[in-house]
Assembly symmetry: C2
Homo-oligomer: 240 residues x 2
């Protein structure tokens, strides 16, 4: 019973589901058509590989929940471990620390956002259209994120913004390069791109947070505000 209760608290941990999957597929009605003991056609990576991926994901999911519920500071590695049902040693096979999990989580977000940013960058030709598209894309993304991983958690600690991670730096660079491209296309005089990019991202972050606190969440309104501010300001910037 106690073991059962313990199991019940777990997330779906691969080790268990895998076993279950296997017993189904091996005894299932279709097992005769996948006849070969180890067919070359089977593109799925080995079980080792799958468990690793799944454990990584389980840890990330658990961490998301824990950070969401307790806040970043209050959360402990043990909280995350407990939530996954894995052993503590196993956790450390994947991540070195709470910080590393958090960074992985931030990376994950950034990695999912980058294609959207890229799409805006390719779609837009001039600075205004890019800025508008990117800003709205970010605010929509933010609202969606918040919605998806904060379900039914009304009052919780705010999660800090990640300061630096590879993917985050990549987003910064991507914005910067897109700015350079569209500004050149507009024949705009050269400005301090680092400062401009920083300022825009700062506005996006801060306004994004404020936007999420308002009801109803108005992504278009926030984007409009940010875009007008920046578009109005850029022509006045000191020329290099």
């Amino acid at each position: 019973m106690s073991a059962g209760a313990c199991r019940a608290e777990r997330n779906e941990v691969t080790f268990l589901t895998e076993r279950h999957d296997r017993s189904i597929s091996e005894s299932g009605p279709m097992s005769n058509i996948a006849y070969f003991p180890k067919p070359h056609i089977d593109q799925r990576p080995g079980k080792r590989e799958r468990t690793k991926t799944a454990n990584r994901q389980a840890i990330l999911d658990a961490a998301r929940e824990v950070f969401g519920e307790l806040g970043y500071d209050a959360a402990t590695v043990r909280d995350i471990i407990r939530r996954t049902g894995l052993a503590s040693g196993t956790f450390y096979n994947y991540y070195k620390s709470k910080e590393e999990v958090f960074e992985a989580l931030a990376d994950d977000g950034a990695r999912r956002f980058r294609p959207l940013l890229r799409a805006e960058s390719e779609k837009a030709v001039d600075f205004p259209s890019f800025l508008r598209g990117a800003m709205l894309a970010y605010f929509d993304f933010l609202a969606k994120e918040q919605e998806s991983w904060r379900i039914d958690r009304p009052s919780s600690e705010p999660i800090p913004h990640a300061r630096s991670s590879p993917e985050l730096a990549a987003v910064f660079d991507e914005v910067r390069e897109a700015f350079a491209r569209v500004l050149a296309h507009d024949n705009a005089p050269p400005v301090d791109l680092d400062y401009l990019t920083s300022a825009c991202i700062a506005i996006a972050r801060e306004l994004g947070d404020k936007m999420l606190e308002r009801r109803p969440v108005d992504t278009a309104g926030a984007a409009d505000f940010a875009v007008r501010l920046i578009l109005g300001g850029v022509p006045a910037l000191p020329k290099l």
Copy 2:
């Protein structure tokens, strides 16, 4: 020797300095003019009170150093305690946690900055002059802070910005109210003040950080950039 070495590591802890001060003032050449055993003229608060103030300050100073050297995340309450030379129990008479010390530190900074902000607010009549004055004041303040408490600490972890503290909120409000006042004076159409304040503070913070990374540190340049961006953008903002 070991006790002596231990003492040497301490900051100036009141308990000791007090004793020292007292022995000097009681045996010093002027002691005869402060004749009364317990003169009513002595405005200094009782020793209890002084020790408390000094201990608070010692903890704050130690914390500043420790956060500076180790970074906020890596720093522990024990590190701070060790640095002060106080007993662990004493620390908890003043602050409940590392977070609380950090907030007190942030509060301290905000408290010292507010008069400067207030001065700019009173000096300026229109939005441009206030914004320029406040932005430059902030960047100068930031540069000075950094200089004063990061002496000879070339490579250290970045200290996170405090998210929320009473004094910080007060600064936000003060900026907001000053904006309201000068914008009204300029007969500017009403805009979303919360968003505008957030955006300006976000720009100041982010640009401030970037500014500190550059050599030489150019507060005027950064302020000019920020001011132009915002001044150019404000007229384009959506009207309420």
